[in-house]
Each structure stands twice: as C-alpha cells, then as structure tokens.
C-alpha cells in the first residue's frame, strides 16, 4: 500500500451546441475550410463589438440547474489578457469574479455499488480561441479562426478525486450530463469536450495540498486515465528521489504516452482580468431559472430510478443503460418496438452482445449497424419461442453482418424453432434407438445421462428444437 495519496481536480471545457458563436453571428459548424467561419467580430477587427448569444447563457443555466448549483442573479464577463496569434483581440472574453454557475456537486460511481460526491466549484462561459497550425507552411504558422468565438462552458471541479479512476468516472458523468442536457455534442476527437487535470500528491493523512501540475491536451477518457496515472508516478518518483514538484503546465503526448513540461508558473501570464466594458452584466431572474428548470429533460438519475421502478430492471443494469444518453436513447427506442415485460431481456442484449460487438468494432451505439427496432424484433422472437436464446446469437451475428432483420434471417436460414411435439418425438425416438447403452444407464439411475440425450437431440435438430420441450419429452420417453 502506497503512503501517497493523489489529489485531482478537473477543468472541463464543454463546447456549447449553439448554432452561432457566443459573441457573433458566425456559424459554429465544425470542419469548414480555414477562416471561412470567422466574421469581423471573430477577427477582432478594429471597432467591432461583442453581442452575447442568449442561447449560450440558457445552456449554461441548464447545466447549473442540473447540478443544483448556486446561480447568481448577476453574472459578469471579464477580459483575460494575453497575446497569442490565434487570440485575435489579445484577450479572451471569459468570466472571472461572477461566473454564471456557482457552487454545485455531482455524484459519481467509480465502481459498482460505490458512490462519491464531487464538488463543482464553478462553471463559466467563455469564448474559444482559434487554432494555430504549425505543420503546413515551412517557416510559418497558419491561423484558423473558425473556432474563435465558439462558446465554451468551463466546468471546474473541486480537488475531490483521489485516483485516475475517480477522475475518469467524474469526467464521464459530466460528459453524460451535458449530452443529456443537449448543450454539448461531447465529441472529444473534434475537441467539443476537453479535460485538463490538476494533479498533486501528498502523504496520506496530510491535509495540505501538494504542488500541482496541470495536464493539458487530453482528448479521450483512456488518455485521461493514463495521463493522470503517469503524472502521479512521476511526482512520487520525483519526491522520493528528493526532488520537488514545480507548479507547471504539462502537455500529454498520447503517441509517446508521457507528459512534457509546457510552461512553469514563473513564465506564466498575468492575465490582468477586468470586467469587459463592452458587455453589460447578465441579469438572470428567478423566473428565468425556474423556466429553465421546468424545461429540463429527464436526467440520468431520474431515468435510472424510473427504469428500476417501472421496468423492474436491476440497479446495475439501470445504471449502465443511463450512463450514456445514447445508450438510453437506444434502449428506449428498442423498448418502444417491444413490450415492457421484455425490458430486462432487451437490457441484457444491449449491455451484453451489442455492447461487446460495438466495443470490438470500435463503434458508438448511435452508429450501431443493428437498429434498435431490429434488436427488439430479435428479442421478441426469443420471448415468443420462435427461436431459442442460442439460435438468437446466430441471428444476431447475421444481423450485425447486415444480412437483414431477424425475421428474414430466421426464415432464410430455416432457424425457426421446432415446437411440433410430433417432430421432436421422432427425433427423440431415433436418438433412443441409436443409444441403447445410455438408455440403460439412465434407467439405472444415472440422471446425468439426460444431458447427453438433450445434446444429441439438439444436434439432430441443428439447434432448432425447443430445449424445454426436448427435456420434457425425453424424460417421458426414457421412463
């Protein structure tokens, strides 16, 4: 057992899913040709002024309401001043002293059956910077300002996490929440959801915080876990070798799987925050907040409780189904094409075979080659005894390969379960006739031999005989 405890806080930048930018009318769509989605305001041309996109404010409040946060009636935008070529105005419009979302919290489940509350210090609105491109022009850097002015919600947690695993559980929970709230598309590859981690270590029992390093440039949950674990190891080694952690920003390099120092505190900017005189304080009334609260969609925790109460799902399955909005959407779409009493079987298929296949193929559930309604049809064929659970796996495989819907595959491959007792009896008679020795053994009391007969009959039927019927008829005939 290590004598060290790690202390982790996350800063998450969620790109808000507004159609236009936070302070201009330019589009926020991803992937356009460089600088085609940057208007005069985004370029910071002399004389232009920012005008706040109210939709970004509403989205931020949605988040605040969902984490039960303090939301003050006045929120202020501030300028964060620093020079960088992809920051057109020489300052970023952000929030400093009066963020739109104040203190709140969220509950995470790092392990099955375990819960932990993580404090959220604040969440504030800000504009994104553009992108510097260093590898396309020899001796020069390119600047793409399409992203400049894209609205971000920066969600700052308390340093409440004690392991990389907890940090990932927290990040996933926030990711799930912003997707549920439909305020962020959550796409980490495109940078719509970015995590920076503040990591420090201290000796167990010590309640002072150690010096922290800030890890940046992490674009997947897997990398988040690896980057934090690396950093914890690096700091432990450093201190155990008599060194000292310096406050600095470290960049995670996923190719080399290491963190590298980017800048130390000594070189850090003095951002000279002050209220932006171009923007009036944002006034938020209690009525505004209530209106947004009333319009909130069903959140993961509520959904989970509903699944348990009305669909009789297990706590564990309900948790897994609701952890991601897309999974819940898939489940509910499948359920809409099925009966409620098939919910448990559906859940098992989604969380079992489908999740496994998606994972293996590296696909997200909303890209599943098997539509939700098709999976519901497959499950229906199991519950109405058209096919057995075992045959269903074959059918699932064929559906995954794109061979069609369950009914078509069952028909085409002749997989319909044999439930005609006459047909099954004929198969049983043949098996009994062919194995007199085993018949004797069974009749002498060797119950286990029944399994042999079931296997033989199923094999003869090529898996299509109803196993329950086979069992019952065999017992009768072997008596």
């Amino acid at each position: 057992m290590s004598e060290w405890e790690s202390v982790i806080g996350l800063e998450i930048h969620a790109q808000l899913a507004t159609r236009s930018k936070i302070f201009s009318g330019a589009s926020t769509a991803y992937g356009a040709a460089p600088n085609t989605q940057a208007c005069a305001v985004d370029l910071g041309l002399p004389g232009v002024l920012p005008v706040l996109n109210q939709e970004a404010v509403r989205m931020a409040i949605r988040f605040g309401v969902a984490i039960d946060a303090q939301i003050d009636h006045q929120s202020v935008f501030a300028r964060k001043n620093y020079f960088y070529p992809d920051l057109p105005k020489g300052y970023q419009i952000s929030q400093f002293e009066h963020p739109i979302v104040g203190t709140g919290s969220i509950t995470i489940s790092p392990d099955e059956g375990e819960t932990k509350t993580v404090g959220i210090t604040r969440a504030h609105l800000e504009e994104d910077a553009g992108k510097s491109i260093h590898d396309q022009f020899p001796e020069q850097s390119g600047i793409d300002l399409n992203r400049a002015g894209t609205p971000l919600l920066e969600i700052v947690s308390e340093p409440d996490m004690r392991s990389a695993k907890e940090a990932v559980a927290y990040a996933r929970k926030i990711h799930s929440l912003v997707r549920y709230l439909e305020i962020c598309d959550g796409n980490m590859q495109e940078g719509s959801f970015r995590c920076d981690a503040n990591v420090s270590i201290r000796r167990k029992g010590d309640d002072r915080l150690g010096t922290r390093a800030e890890l940046k440039n992490i674009n997947s949950f897997r990398f988040l876990e690896r980057a934090i674990n690396h950093e914890i190891e690096r700091q432990i080694e450093l201190i155990e070798d008599g060194g000292r952690v310096v406050q600095e920003t470290r960049l995670y390099d996923s190719e080399r799987d290491e963190t590298r120092s980017m800048r130390s505190k000594e070189e850090a900017n003095d951002y000279r925050y002050f209220p932006d005189p171009d923007l009036l304080p944002v006034n938020i009334s209690a009525a505004d907040i209530e209106e947004i609260r009333a319009a909130l969609p069903e959140l993961p925790e509520q959904k989970k409780q509903r699944y348990i109460a009305t669909l009789a799902l297990s706590d564990y399955n309900a948790e897994l189904l609701t952890a991601s909005r897309d999974t819940a959407i898939y489940f509910e779409a499948a359920l809409a094409a099925a009966d409620n009493d098939q919910a448990a079987v559906l859940a098992n298929w989604i969380l079992g075979d489908l999740a496994g296949a998606l994972n293996k193929a590296g696909l997200e559930i909303d890209d599943s080659p098997i539509p939700a309604a098709d999976l519901a049809q497959l499950v229906a064929r199991i519950t109405d005894n058209t096919i057995s659970g075992k045959i269903a796996k074959q059918v699932f495989e064929a559906m995954w390969q794109g061979e069609g819907r369950a009914d078509d595959i069952i028909e085409a491959r002749g997989l319909r379960q044999i439930t005609d007792s006459g047909a099954i009896e004929a198969l049983i008679d043949a098996v009994i006739a062919a194995n007199p020795e085993q018949v004797e053994q069974f009749r002498a009391g060797k119950e286990k031999v029944l399994g042999f007969f079931v296997g033989q009959v199923m094999q003869q039927s090529r898996g299509k005989a109803n196993p329950g019927q086979v069992n019952a008829l065999l017992r009768e005939k072997l008596k």
């Binding site: 005069a40 002399p46 004389g47 232009v48 057109p88 105005k89 000279r272 925050y273 171009d278």
Partner: protein, 483 residues
C-alpha cells in the same frame, strides 16, 4: 463661407444651390486651407461627388431625408467601408475597414455627403491633436495654437469652414474641449445614446460619439441622425430618442442651472471666468434661475479617469499585434520580435505611455489599489452629479480652464496636459451628456461654456444652448484667415 447645416438644407430645398455645387465648394476650401491646418487625413473627393450627385437626384425626385445633400466629415476613428480608417496612427496607416461604423451608416442613410476623414490624436489619446502620425492640427483662430483634442481635426474643420459639421468622439472631453478651443458647438451625448459599433475603441466604458457644428440647432439635426439603439453595441441604450429639434425654442425661463463651485476655483483662468460669467448673466436675463452647487469629488476625476481609461485602452489596443491587420514590422525573426517591433513601431509615444500605465494598473497585486479603487471613486463622482440633479435641471461651467495653448507648450509635461480635462472628464466617468457652446474670446481665442445634463437630457442641453445662441453670435464668427 460660414453656412450652417440648417442654411444648407434650406438652400438645397429652395434650389439656391445643388449638393454637388456646395460639395465642390467645400472640397475646394479643403484643398486651399488644409495644408495650413492639417484637419484632414483623407479627403474622399470621389465619394463626396458621387454622394452629392445621388443627393441631387433624390432632391430632384422630391425625396429628402434629414441630411440629404449636406456635406460633412468623419473623425478618422469611425470605420468607413473601403476608405482608410487610420486613427491617426502609423499602426493603421494601411487599414481599410470592410464595414461602416453605425454612425457612418446612419449619417449616410440620412443622405449626408462624406468629404473625408479628420485628423485626431492617435487613438483619441490626447488633448491637443499633437499626437498624430499625420502631424498636428493648427487652430484656425491662431495657427500657432492647438485646436484641442482628440477630435481636433473635426473641430478645426468646422471652425475654418472646411465642413459645416463633423463627427467626433469624446472619452474625457475630446468633443467638448476642441469645440471650446475652436469656437464651435459640440455635444457629447449620454453614454449609450450613440452606437460605438465601428468606432475604434480607446476606453470602452467612456467613449461616446457626437457631432460638431456651428450651432446647437445643427447639432440637434446631426444628433438626430446619429442617436438610437444599435443591436450591435450591447452598451447602447434602447430607450427612445427624443426629437432634438422640436423643443429648441422653448427658452430657459424657470430652468434651474447649477454652478459647481469646484469648476470656478483655482486653476481657472480669471479672464475666461469673466467671459463665462457674462454668458451666465445672459441666461439669467432670459429667466434661468442660477444656483450654486457643489460636486465635491471633482478633484478625484482626473486620477480616476486615467486609471480607468488607461486600463481599458491597454486591453483594447492589444488587437493591434501585426498579425491580421495594421502595421507589421519587416522580417520578424520570431513571434515575440513580431509583436515587439510591430507595436513599437506602430504606436506613438503617448499611446505607449497609456498602454504601459494601464497594464500596470491591471497587474496582479495592483488591481485592487488602482482599478478597483478607481471604480469606487467613479461611483462617488456619479453620486455627486445625481445629488446635484436633485436641485437643478442642468449644470453649467467652463469647458476648459484656459483657452487654446500654443503648439508644443505642454508636450513635455503630460500631467499638465491631462489637467486640461478637469471639467470634462467627470461626465464621461458618470456617463452624462455635456456640450460646449462658444461664449466669447480671450486673447483672440475662443472660450467654451459647458452645459451638463442628466441622463438622456440632450434635448434640454440643446435647448439652453440654442436659447443662448439666439442672443449671441460667438458661434457664427469665423477666423479671419478662413472667412
């Protein structure tokens, strides 16, 4: 040539002259006198003639908007689509905005003709128009003296009859002080009354655009065209504009006018004080009730202003970095070199001084002592005015402590230069409207009287000024060399 906008409108509608004729006259005067005065950075002859022709065609069709066919000039910090907007800075010597400022757009839509872009202190930072990359402007009343600043080119152009009216901006007095120094009428509206969109920012919480003209009556017309809510400027007011011309003839009978004792104290040239006293006497004669009041925090306005204005400008001017537009140094070796040399070469001395002071005031460890303190003082200054307006309808005093000083007299002493703004600056801090009205001369140089109103009381100021101008002709006088 000393026509007012009102006279030009009348002449155009009576068919006494065409917009093209009068525009050509002004362009000719600019050609003749601008070399001595240096009022204009750019003269937009082609645009002016085309707009004048369009105005004449509109007038011939019987279509007449507020300013149809009236020539005027814009301070060179209002962005003009396709025409250089330099802010009198080397930094923007090559900058052509791809859009019109709201003020420019509104004035164009009101039918006016743009003669050109006027000289100013670089980025509106200065009180003498000596801080211009394009050279200083001379005061038409005495070309060895400054015209005031920062809107010195606009004020001098109107005074010398190179334009019947011009736009300006006022951050700490930049309309009122040059109006006073040049003997013209100028109004700085309430903060938020005129859109700042496309007006290159000096200090965003203080900047406000407004007009210069030969009379209050003309200023009312110009302001009518300029004022109003603009969705592109979040700080613009959505309250309805008044009809600024409608009440001009109502007189001053019964109006309570407050004289702040701090505005008539030490530092005010006694000869100038005497001229103001005479003007006050005239208003009293017309039935105004004159009261003594106090604005006890007046002395704090200069230090407060210079912290707020410089802090904001240090941030506002960060976008001039040589990356996307404006001056870029030759052959930068790396990013830091690009920044340092582009900004070092592009900005003049006063601009650099203010960026440095502002950066300092916002720095970690100094923010509370300077910026935050200044915000507190700003509220106190605002409260002073609100208390005063409990007992008076408007406030009156000198616009400046002395008349236009000689070119070069204060260039080595920035603090003495800053003190020129003592009476004007607190209005910007409070966001109140103010105007300067010519009331006489000292040493052959004009004296300006300042009228200060409560929020959105521009119509009242214009009415009082107009009432005074009905019994005086200081505002119509033209400097001999340019008549």
């Amino acid at each position: 040539m000393s026509m007012t906008v009102t006279e030009i409108r009348r002449g155009l509608s009576n068919g006494e002259f065409s917009s093209s004729e009068i525009t050509q006259d002004y362009l000719a005067r600019i050609g003749r006198h601008n070399p001595a005065l240096n009022c204009f950075i750019s003269v937009t002859e082609d645009i002016a003639l085309a707009q004048a022709q369009a105005a004449d065609e509109a007038l011939a069709r019987g279509e007449s908007a507020l300013l149809t066919g009236v020539p005027l000039a814009h301070k060179d910090l209002f962005c003009t689509d396709g025409v250089r907007t330099s802010c009198a800075s080397r930094m923007l010597d090559n900058f052509i905005a791809p859009y019109d400022a709201t003020v420019v757009e509104r004035i164009r839509e009101a039918g006016a003709v743009m003669l050109g872009k006027t000289n100013m202190d670089e980025f509106a930072m200065g009180s003498s128009n000596e801080n211009s990359w394009y050279g200083n402007v001379a005061n038409p009343w005495n070309t060895a003296h400054v015209p005031g600043g920062s809107s010195g080119g606009s004020a001098a152009a109107v005074a010398a009859g190179l334009a019947p009216a011009a736009t300006g901006t006022d951050t700490g007095g930049s309309i009122r002080q040059p109006a006073a120094f040049c003997g013209v009428t100028g109004i700085k509206p309430t903060y938020g009354r005129v859109s700042r969109y496309g007006m290159i920012a000096f200090a965003s919480s203080l900047d406000q655009g407004g007009p210069f003209a030969r009379s209050a009556e003309d200023c009312a017309l110009l302001l009518q065209a300029m004022a109003g809510f603009d969705p592109r400027d979040s700080t613009s007011s959505n309250s309805a504009t008044q009809d600024y011309s409608a009440g001009l003839e109502q007189g001053v009978e019964g109006l309570r006018i407050g004289l702040p004792k701090e505005y008539f104290a030490e530092g005010l040239d006694s000869r100038l004080a005497a001229v103001i006293e005479t003007a006050i006497g005239e208003l009293r004669k017309q039935g105004a009730e004159i009261r003594d009041i106090s604005l006890p925090n007046t002395g704090l306005s200069i230090p407060t202003y210079y912290v707020v204005a410089m802090a904001e400008c240090s941030s506002n001017l960060s976008r001039f970095d040589g990356v996307r537009f404006g001056h870029r140094c030759d052959n930068p070796v790396d990013l830091e070199d690009l920044y340092k040399r582009s900004r070092g070469e592009g900005f003049g001395e006063e601009v650099k001084r203010r960026i440095l002071i502002g950066t300092y005031a916002l720095s970690a460890g100094y923010y509370d002592a300077y910026y935050l303190k200044a915000q507190q003082l700003r509220r106190m200054i605002k409260d002073d005015f609100q208390q005063a307006f409990d007992s008076v309808d408007l406030i009156l005093g000198p616009t400046t402590p002395e008349v236009a000083f000689a070119i070069g007299a204060k260039t080595d002493d920035p603090v003495s230069m800053y003190l020129q703004d003592i009476y004007t600056i607190s209005l910007n801090l409070a966001g109140l409207p103010g105007m300067s009205v010519p009331v006489g001369f000292v040493d052959g140089l004009p004296v300006g009287m300042q009228l200060i109103g409560n929020y959105f009381d521009e119509a009242l100021l214009l009415r009082v000024a107009h009432s005074y101008q009905q019994v005086s002709d200081w505002h119509l006088q033209t400097p001999g060399d340019f008549s």
